[in-house]
Amino acid sequence: MSKQVVQLSRVIIRFAGDSGDGMQLTGDQFTSRTAAFGNDLSTLPDFPAEIRAPTGTLPGVSAFQLHFADHDIMTPGDAPNVLVAMNPAALKANIKDLPRGADIIVDTDEFTTRNLTKVGYAQNPLDDGSLDSFAIHRIPLTSLTVEALKASAVSKKDAERAKNMFALGLLSWLYARPTEGTITFLNQKFAKKPDILAANIAAFEAGWSFGETTEDFSVQYEVKPAPMKPGQYRNMSGNLALSYGLIAAAQSAKLPLYLGSYPITPASDILHELSKHKRFGIMTFQAEDEIAGIGAALGASYGGMLGVTTTSGPGVALKSETIGLAVALELPLVIVDVQRGGPSTGLPTKTEQSDLLQAMFGRNGESPVPIIAPRSPGDCFDAAIEAVRIATKYRTPVFLLSDGYLANGSEPWRIPDVGSLPDISVAFASEHNHTNEDGSTEFWPFQRDPDTLARPWAVPGTAGLEHRIGGIEKANGTGNISYDADNHDLMTRLRQGKIDGIDVADLEVEDPTGDAKVLVLGWGSTYGPIGAAARLVRADGIPVAQAHFRHLNPFPANTAEVLRRYDKVIIPEMNLGQLALLVRGRYLVDAISYNQVRGLPFKADELAGVIKGVVGNV
């Protein structure tokens, strides 16, 4: 039976179910097929911190949103066109985000009185008319799956567990996704469990066939591939891109990478990933705590490795003293902070941009640290290389501020040519660098490079350069302990001057019409939503400019000049105005701060409204 095929330009699907329903896996698979099909895409996994909250409850709902299109897109989308709700909790938790007319696919088997009561539905919303403004597809996913697997060797429980594959099969048919990749994936995942493998494939195929035959879906949709820059692509998440960026940077810096880390959400995946790559000379160490993780990394840097530590906000708090030590020692170190909602434990699995000021100021004394923030999942790769470049060239700890949205979100990524990666290698000190009045020579650990102000990186094992360094103030040049007032003033200014003088790229402004009076300024993961909002605004004929910081310390040299060009500057942030505080303080610009801390990225629509409001008042 062939059905009518309707062309769509873009679609936003949200898969939602219980934590144990396999929604993340389902979403991942749909994403991989969509990526391979050639659509542009952006994803937003949204799951609770608990591994398995009680079944069928609102806290246990796990969701995965995917936005895919035949053109380039910047966000995972504001409102889903399609919600797949595997139980009443998933429906209740997500219904408020759906626009009228959206398709809702529900598993009617799960809409039992008990499950409805669990989430506070007095009546079944599928029957009481409350969903009349939506296109409801009532499908007994569980029983259809069990029925399809009747002949299979698996238990009824295992058959029920395959319902996510039935749903994936149905959605794959609905949007004409290729199927081979999913079959290959299942073959790999369940290679050692042939019964489970057979059941999952059968469920997937049954879902596809159901779509073809059911009268519930009268049309099949097609979203054509998006035009993209020529090259080889893959789908890429932020944490993976960041891990690969570190591996590539170590190769480009010609240094063995050493990661000292302690597990913490949402950064642990970087530890997991790097642990797999010993073949690249990547050494990983799961320490006893956050402090030991960074301590070991700093010890490794002292020994001539590329020391890296990965964590999230609460871990940064614990590492602060060691970061200060790295500032004093003037040794390379990369601190990756995958930000999450705070304060304290906060929202471990939700995103936020609220560690900027912690990265900037969260240490005792004057202890400047460069800060770099990636803007998209794929950009985590380049940002990691930039962090390593600065750390090694300037012998300084560097903050790399990712966040939960970038970490777990994904997008198509153009695979870079390894040969085009920059050479960021630096030389270790090998000889004396100071001549005394009597002509004798010696090694001065704080004799600085006149251009970068960096001190020599002299690693143990180098004969003739034996020296002692430490957190206690040192005399510039000799490196001897010094409590001298003038020296401390000098060293404080030198450490600051070194960071202020880092070579960072200019701030670029996107202003297609060239006559914008309002600039939207952002940093980090808000790039996508701000960019999408700016497009919406411009589509209405309203000019607006966008600029986005990659370097937050130091700011690009042209920042003041850029800010002066505009009548108004809007700074949207997923915090209460941290970049705005820095920009106002540094540039005396009366920036308009727009803030949300909802654990989720901004919606382009909302931001567009904010921008229009400001433009209207100029």
Binding site: P230, Q232, R279, G295, V418, P460, T462, H467, R468
Partner: protein
């Protein structure tokens, strides 16, 4: 994963040797030593500087790492590489250095506050991992650099600036703690006994893995005489067991010795009464740490009676760094990874 891999025992032999004969002078720096006159640290520094030439290691391959406290100034006075870090963290920092650089001989200097209070976590984890570090713990039972508060080894009831009515905390016994963490080498010595100190350092240096050496050290400003009973020539032989592997554990004067009681615990008995044959022979190489632990509990923290000094435990266990490096080597047996194929992965598409 039940398979095991024989990972071998690399050790100091990976550290390059000095090409010329060294003397204590070679290990002295031009820095002015800033400990209080009369501090026990001077004696330890002199003993270490005299002992280092015996190891014959290239000076540039020796690193001293410390935390914060009086003892932690030690690296500034050793003409090797040195890193004076932050309070309590030296074992963590040294671990990262030691596991990535098997060609270095890494020494940690710490004190009772640095190692057992703020840095307790790092100490026990370094010990359980058996990282190739030599940790010298200067124990003076007081906080010196912060001017005289009680420490985690102070005796109960210690009157200090922060405990005017006497401290309430039960003290740590550093040797018991280290044995509880299953350290592979645990010893105790005394700052003023140059010969014993040097011999203990020698054994620690040769040990593969973490060696913890507790050094009873006198703070003549804030806790003067804390170890005097063990130094006083009239009493020390009657208070001290000098542990020697394979020898009966008796006080230096031979009057009393350690016996095993019917319930398996250890007890001090008159040698004349029980006979020398009944005295336990010291077995430093016993894989089971429980006898060494019992031995560490036999002294009285208040009077210092029955204090064992010497090597409590010295057993073979693969060092963390050797197994860490072996895994790296194993992973790279088939050659280095190829970055281009890593970045591409196995699920790509091409846009032309």
């Amino acid at each position: 994963m039940s398979e095991t891999v024989d990972l071998g025992f690399p050790s100091l032999r990976l550290v390059p040797k000095a090409t010329e004969k060294q003397s204590a002078k070679d290990f002295k720096t031009d820095q002015e030593v800033r400990w209080c006159p009369g501090c026990g640290d001077y004696a330890i520094l002199a003993a270490v500087q005299s002992f280092m030439p015996e190891l014959g290691l290239a000076r540039e391959n020796v690193v001293w790492v410390s935390g914060i406290g009086c003892s932690s100034r030690f690296p500034y006075y050793m003409n090797t590489y040195g890193l004076h870090s932050i309070h309590g963290r030296a074992p963590a920092i040294a671990s990262g250095l030691a596991m990535t650089r098997p060609d270095l001989s890494v020494w940690v200097v710490t004190g009772d506050g640095d190692a057992l209070s703020i840095g307790g976590n790092h100490l026990i984890h370094a010990l359980r991992r058996n990282v190739n570090l030599k940790i010298l713990l200067f124990n003076n039972r007081i906080y010196g650099l912060t001017k005289g508060q009680y420490s985690p080894t102070s005796e109960v009831g210690k009157v200090t600036k922060s405990t005017p009515m006497g401290s309430l905390d039960h003290p740590f016994n550093p040797v018991s703690l280290a044995l509880g963490a299953e350290a592979s080498f645990v010893a105790r010595t005394i700052d003023s006994d140059r010969k014993h100190l040097t011999e203990t350092l020698r054994q620690a240096a040769l040990h593969e893995g973490t060696a913890l050496v507790e050094i009873y050290q006198n703070c003549n400003i804030f806790n003067d005489g804390a170890w005097d009973p063990l130094k006083d020539s009239d009493h020390r032989d009657n208070l001290t067991f000098r542990l020697q592997h394979g020898e009966p554990i008796t006080l230096v004067d031979g009057t009393r010795g350690v016996i095993r009681t019917a319930d398996g615990s250890l007890e001090v008995a008159d040698v004349a009464t029980v006979g020398l044959d009944a005295i336990l022979l010291h077995d430093a190489h016993n894989q089971d740490p429980s006898v060494a632990f019992a031995l560490s509990r036999i002294s009285d923290p208040m009077t210092l009676a029955n204090t064992p000094i010497g090597v409590f435990r010295d057993v073979k266990r693969p060092s963390y760094d050797s197994t860490f490096q072996a895994q790296m080597a194993l992973a790279q047996e088939g050659g280095r990874g190829d970055l281009a194929s890593l970045l591409a992965g196995n699920d790509t598409w091409t846009i032309s």
